[in-house]
Symmetry: C2
DNA sequence: GAGAAAAGTTGAACCAATTCTAAAATTGAG
DNA sequence: CTCAATTTTAGAATTGGTTCAACTTTTCTC
């Protein structure tokens, strides 16, 4: 373990991701040429392709870090949610949305989403689908948790409702990143409005 | 109007679309080289770029025809829907889904969706967003129609519910085209299940 | 610590979309 | 029929992601 080769490998990974993160934000995904990323990371173009199958996978690694952070932040809400279905959902979704632009610009999100539909079988495509699934599971887990707490009717199909809520939120988020002028508070308000009927229906 | 020049222009448009449709299906979007499309359409590469800004816009024109057909088919359902909320929704969504692979392969859908998020301001991106909006409006219109017919509670926020249902369906459709082995009946069943809670909540 | 094997690095070459240019063809008006 | 305007054409140039064969470095073995 941890021979020179291992350390160099980890270091190159880090340098590539750092360089890409900087350049993606500065110049946009398309604007950040592989050549420039390689230069900034002080490796050759070939080495980048040795570490990542293609440009999209570099972005994928960054997205993955971001979403995992969001998932972590969400665990707290599921563990002890606000004592009210509407607030609980709004809090969890709020965490997702408010964190979403920490590391990734809207343009980076657009590219990431595009690649994940374009190449669903690439490493990134698979990873992205997996992350979506985990977010869905977390929302479903919240519904189930609220059922345990007696805040949601026990006969409700938790997983189905979780999927419905996640899918709606995700679509809204996609539209949000597609419009540069769209603002977070309005996004949250729109989602709250959409969820209202559902919240009323599943609450005890 | 309709001089020779106009007719030739329309004819070239048609030939390009026909050639592209064939080649996209045969070789996939990436596999269909512009050169090959030009050859098959019996025009030069330059002419293609004179008619469409880029390769994506050609696909965009095909998608647009497909979705417009679906929208047309949906009008009938909105005008005289089945006398039951669940069936009405299932019928409309069924039309969307069953028609969806008439002209477009899953691979073409993936590309189209990817391009529309990647370049939301391109002609295609704008058109695609517009089509989504029309589909959303049609679902909302169905809810409102069902309210008029006394099948949906009058105090329900029709547009919000329409958006929720469309967004969920659309996300499910995205996941559907991402997996080549996914089948239409299962997609419909999954959406039905997700909508069930909502249907129960809004029915009189 | 020398030599061979394994693993990793390199950058020039390749490919396809797109742009550009100058020439050729087509059209419609007079 | 002729001319000017518009459009099409072929093909060369550009561009940037990706591939690959030759070269280095690291590790392993004795």
């Amino acid at each position: 373990m941890s021979g020179l080769r291992e350390r160099q490998k980890a270091d190159r990974h880090r340098r590539i991701i750092d360089a890409a993160t900087t350049l993606f934000r500065e110049a946009g995904y398309e604007g950040a040429k592989i050549e420039a990323i390689a230069a900034q990371a002080e490796v050759s173009i070939g080495t980048i392709y040795n570490y990542y199958q293609n440009k999209g996978d570099i972005l994928g690694a960054i997205v993955s870090m971001e979403v995992n952070e969001v998932l972590n932040a969400g665990r707290g809400v599921v563990a002890s949610p606000p004592a009210n279905v509407g607030d609980a959902l709004d809090t969890l979704i709020g965490i997702y949305i408010e964190h979403s632009l920490n590391y990734l610009s809207k343009e980076m999100w657009r590219q990431a989403m595009a690649i994940s539909t374009q190449l669903p079988d690439s490493p990134f495509g698979q990873a992205y689908t997996g992350l979506d699934r985990e977010l869905t599971k977390q929302i479903s887990a919240l519904i189930v948790r609220l059922q345990e707490l007696g805040l949601v009717r026990p006969d409700i199909d938790g997983p189905a409702v979780g999927e419905l809520i996640f899918n709606n939120m995700n679509m809204m988020f996609i539209e949000f990143v597609k419009r540069d002028e769209a603002k977070i508070p309005e996004l949250r308000a729109a989602i709250r409005r959409q969820n209202r009927v559902l919240v009323a229906a599943i609450g005890v």
